[in-house]
Symmetry: C2
Subunit: 336 residues, 2 copies
């Protein structure tokens, strides 16, 4: 399977590292021969139709910051769409940064690949939250597979889990802690009694919150995931504007300690149901599956037969997210 | 797909009810036409090669307790193996009660079906805990599928989850609360400060513990599940005798309250790793995914790429267990 990676930040590099670590194992276990032939970043691209040297690729990115510096086969200034035009690949891995204004350039990359009859795997929430229907329709029309497990919850598997493992059940609703940064902040506030501002600064120092934490703390990141789950699992035709969103910046230590006295914790919960698409702070019971600390993500699927089934996992991380992408690639390989 | 159900207790009746509820939906979603042609209990069998009437079947069992009373097509005293000999089916659902002395009669039913080239789905822990290798080898030799999601954790999906959803990862070890009854008892003791005996009696009154609770409270049930996970997910060639087992009957309210003071809970944990196959009471941290109350089951899979991934679900229940069996049947259908 010839693969093209679009975007070579933390997730893209994670995918290359996983290819390095697991190439032989995956060939042995699944008969799948992974061949990375192109990788694109802002500087341009590294291309080799025989297969890129993964060590050299990662080393070049690390030392120069630019894929265009890849020895012999680096191309400066070439665009993602140009690469998709010129290279003969089987599957696009689209992992450019999420943009929730217009979903670009990921949206164009994905549509171009599908129109050319290529499978697509992505971790990019932007085009999924804004243009889910357009992308799903294009995949169907062009008879290609479109997988996006890594876009929700990183290494907390939920989409394939609902479709494959719970195939005997109907999913009625989903409730989840879909953002690790806010879970970290709320968990620390509950444990230390500290203020929101103080805890946010601590999270920034630890690299858990970004310098501009708006997407996380105001619930925008979780809202994107609500949209993706609504479309893909509950078949609700929704977009980002349909989600009611309230973040955690107004939560006080006093409200957390009041809740605690009654055996509750405050968590930022995303709800996906026929009745509501919503992200807001809510009370959850101690001793329930939602009462997890740290940067973990959690999602509970309410089903018709199996009652509540919950998954918990790391919401972010380079290798963790890459592992979800790898499961998607293997699934495409198995069902083709 | 013509189906034969062996055993018609809580799980077998659950399967029949799920067929009733979901037959049309499953035909529509997956193109799978489920046709139950034989059901067997201690009294004999109900057989109709055109398909049993599910309402009549469940009604007959409910009012008489005997499938042999099924109007027109009831056969008194016929054995399971005789039915498998006489009826032309595609898939056996083996849900007779678990026997951890010799795994019978389930072991014979399963081997007979496989030798005849039929697929098998089971929830029966006995033959899996005692004869895993023999059954897996027979399935391979006869080129049939053998699925047993429901044998571990009822509606907490773990086996298909590891094989399908986490296919990109290697599973290094599994830690889990694999028995709902003991989790209920330990949760109540922690909350109420009550003694083991008192709480066990309460659980019996509520129908959560059986009249003879040995298999649950002494860890035998969890040990069977440890064996199944060891063989199926970690490829460790183990049997029931290889598991070190300690139950919860020696746990005192004092030890629970001591642990609580330090932020810990006591849970009965099954460990599956290259180093240990073990069931024993252990300390788990409050705020961790293991700190769940009630009859819930939990399992954490330690992976090479995705770090820890956890699933939580109901460990028992008629429809819940049947839903896992249904997912297995759909998976067989899709991959054949």
């Amino acid at each position: 399977m010839n693969i093209c990676i679009m975007g070579f930040g933390s997730v893209g590099q994670g995918v290359a590292r996983v290819f390095q670590m697991k190439k032989e194992q995956i060939k042995e276990d699944h008969g799948l021969d992974l061949n990375l032939i192109a990788a694109v970043d802002r500087s341009g691209a590294a291309v080799n139709l025989e297969g890129l040297d993964l060590n050299l690729l990662l080393e070049t990115k690390k030392s120069t910051g630019k894929l265009s510096e890849y020895p012999e086969n680096g191309a400066e200034g070439i665009s993602g769409v140009e690469i998709l035009e010129e290279v003969d690949y089987d599957c696009l891995i689209e992992v450019t940064p999420t943009n929730i204004e217009d979903g670009e350039p990921a949206r164009s990359h994905i549509l171009k690949a599908m129109q050319d009859g290529k499978h697509v795997v992505t971790s990019n929430k932007g085009p999924l939250a804004l243009n889910f229907r357009e992308l799903a329709d294009s995949a169907q029309k062009n008879n290609v597979q479109f997988k996006y497990e890594a876009s929700v919850g990183g290494a907390m598997p939920i989409i394939n889990f609902a479709h494959e493992t719970l195939s005997g059940c109907r999913i009625e609703s989903i409730y989840g802690i879909l953002n690790g940064t806010t879970n970290y902040i709320l968990s620390r506030m509950a444990k230390e009694g500290s203020s929101y501002e103080q805890t946010l600064n601590e999270a920034k120092e630890l690299g858990i919150a970004e310098t501009d934490p708006t997407q996380d703390v105001e619930g925008e990141d979780a809202a994107c995931k609500v949209v993706i789950l609504a479309n893909s699992i509950l078949k609700i035709d929704a977009t980002y504007q349909d989600v009611e969103v309230r973040g955690i910046s107004q939560i006080t230590p006093e409200s957390i300690s009041l809740a605690k006295k009654e055996g509750y914790l405050i968590k930022l919960i995303g709800e996906v149901s026929e009745d509501a698409l919503e992200v807001s702070p809510r009370l959850v019971k101690e001793g329930s599956p939602f009462a997890v600390d740290g940067t973990l993500n959690v999602a509970t699927l309410k089903t018709d037969l199996a009652d509540d089934v919950t998954v918990v996992g790391k919401g972010a991380g380079s290798l963790e997210t890459a592992s979800a992408i790898m499961s998607d690639i293997i699934s495409i390989w198995k069902t083709n």
